[in-house]
């Protein structure tokens, strides 16, 4: 322990920064995001089964289950081991490249679909402090703009996949996704402007601090929250807005021609985008890692409290992810013109009205 402390005190500021950032990236990505993605798929399957009067996945039984007397069968019935089997299956499947595809784009498209979603998580404060380290990978001053910028790059994965596959279903999926994501990006971007008018800063840590002092922004800006929520569904291509991969019309949409791990990467990308959207909503509207009682609003001073803050953040985020999953089995898919109508003719004007309203109220409360 002493040796470790000595080692860290001997480091320069840059060296410490590099070491801790790498650590945070590895832990967040491999310790949190990928397991959450794997188990979000399981929750999706289970929730869909339960809503449709089925039992859902309950078969995968690894060899060590027989050594777990009571817990083992329960875990098997809950399908806890299915994500492991799914992952293994993805790796072992034949990676088939059809002869008619544009090879270069066909290979890089899945990667482009995953990377932006993961990068967007970099600026999200997922806890207050552990020791001296702030629990955010990059505490940028323009955090929100960074997230929007990076998320807007995610569309390239889908568009290129559609283009590279050289098949009409994929192509239509790619075209649809580009139009849809651009449309809803505008509504989404405008919906958060009132928040920054209230907070007066683009840094996400400041947004949380603002909410810790007063009420959560979901109560102060309900319209903004509704627009952001719906736009988040559209941005992550989730039902009721999953037109780019509408199974009934486009077979599989942009990933029709993909198999094996490349297909799995699109899946990971979609769920990571869902995590990023949920995390953004927690930070912007639900007070981030704070809770308005038991002194949890303050930045952590002890290690246990730091962990508690991370726990609060993750539970809020998981709750929103269940909302994402639940809505999928609740609403039918929108028609394409309805989708565009909702985005451009309902939400964009509504967001503008919301901005003006917030400005008027702010001006009335704090005239200069």
């Amino acid at each position: 322990m002493e040796a470790i402390k000595q080692f860290f005190s001997g480091l320069s500021w840059e060296q410490e920064f590099v070491i801790f950032t790498t650590l945070k990236v590895c832990i967040v990505l491999f310790g949190a995001v990928l397991p959450i993605v794997a188990y979000a798929v399981l929750v999706e399957r289970k929730v869909s089964a339960w809503i449709q009067d089925r039992v859902g996945p309950n078969r995968a039984t690894p060899f060590f289950v027989k050594y777990l007397p009571v817990v083992g069968p329960i875990l098997v019935r809950l399908g806890i081991f299915h994500p492991l089997a799914d992952g293994l299956k993805s790796f072992l499947k034949e990676d088939f490249t059809p002869a008619h595809v544009r090879k270069v784009y066909f290979w890089i498209a899945p990667a482009i679909a995953v990377v932006p979603a993961m990068l967007a998580l970099a600026v999200i404060p997922f806890g207050s402090k552990l020791g001296d380290q702030k629990m955010v990978i990059a505490d940028l001053n323009v955090g929100i703009l960074f997230t929007f910028g990076i998320i807007s790059l995610g569309v390239y994965g889908l568009v290129l996949a559609g283009y590279a596959s050289n098949s009409k279903f994929s192509f239509l999926g790619g075209i649809r996704s580009s139009a849809q994501m651009i449309s809803y990006e505008i509504a989404m971007g405008m919906s958060v402007i009132p928040i920054f008018m209230l907070v007066g800063d683009l840094n996400l840590s400041k947004v949380i601090a603002y909410q810790a002092d007063g009420a959560w922004l979901v109560f102060k800006q309900p319209i903004a929250f509704v627009i952001f929520l719906v736009a988040a569904f559209a941005e992550t291509n989730r039902l009721p807005f999953d037109l780019p991969e509408a199974e009934t019309e486009l077979v599989g949409g942009y990933h029709t021609e993909y198999s094996s791990m490349k297909f799995a990467l699109f899946f990971i990308g979609e769920y990571t985008a869902m995590i990023a959207a949920s995390a953004m909503m927690v930070v912007l509207f639900f007070g981030g890692w704070t809770l308005p009682f038991a002194g949890l609003n303050e930045s952590a001073t002890t290690f246990a409290m730091g962990l508690a803050h991370i726990g609060i953040f993750v539970s809020k985020m998981l709750f929103l992810m269940v909302v994402f999953i639940w809505v999928r089995w609740m609403l039918p898919r929108f028609r394409y013109d309805q989708l565009m109508d909702l985005g451009w003719r309902r939400f964009v004007p509504l967001a503008l009205v919301n901005i003006v309203l917030t400005a008027v109220v702010l001006w009335a409360l704090h005239p200069k």
């Binding site: 339960w50 809503i51 009067d53 609740m330």
Partner: protein, 185 residues
């Protein structure tokens, strides 16, 4: 008939009623399945579906009550079979004799390829001797393709005895009841 679509009211256009309705329906099913144990799923290999009487599964050959083969090798079923799953080798010049008195022939070999069979029931419909019936087996498995070609012995063993109308016995009685008796005893 033209049904005029009513315009939505403002309240309906907010999507809120549909959202709440959806939440109510899905929530009800969720709670009923998780806490009420009302899932409709059948755990297949352990629990098996009880097939109702008259289910039309795999076609098998049947014997009559006397235990004789009913098939007379007319090959109508082979002809009508849409996926060409049935293959019949007629007796030809061989000394193979039919089991029962009113039949001239019996098939030397009768094969149904269960990998091809689509359980359509045309063979049962077309059979003049009521010798082939779709029975209650629906899940046929095997480890090789050859294993899935059922031969005459297997089909007869699986088909069992048909307990229904005995066509030729009835014909005989009908004939005996007539004034001029055309059939020799």
């Amino acid at each position: 008939m033209i049904v005029k679509r009513a315009n939505l009211t403002l309240w309906e256009r907010l999507f809120l009623p549909t959202l709440l309705g959806g939440l109510q329906v899905t929530g009800k099913h969720f709670i009923r399945t998780v806490f009420g144990g009302k899932a409709v799923t059948m755990q297949y290999p352990e629990q098996k579906w009880v097939v109702p009487e008259g289910y039309r599964g795999a076609p098998y050959l049947v014997r009559d009550q006397a235990g004789d083969t009913k098939c007379v090798s007319c090959q109508l079923c082979e002809f009508v079979c849409p996926p060409k799953a049935i293959k019949i080798i007629p007796p030809g010049d061989s000394s193979l004799k039919a089991d029962r008195a009113n039949a001239e022939k019996t098939p030397k070999e009768f094969e149904i390829n269960m990998l091809r069979c689509i359980f359509c029931g045309f063979c049962q419909e077309v059979c003049p001797e009521e010798a082939i019936f779709l029975q209650r087996d629906y899940s046929l498995t095997g480890e090789t393709r050859d294993e899935m070609i059922y031969n005459k012995e297997k089909l007869l063993a699986l088909g069992g005895t048909h307990a229904g109308v005995q066509k030729w016995k009835q014909k005989l009685e009908e004939a005996k009841g007539q004034e001029t008796f055309p059939v020799k005893d």
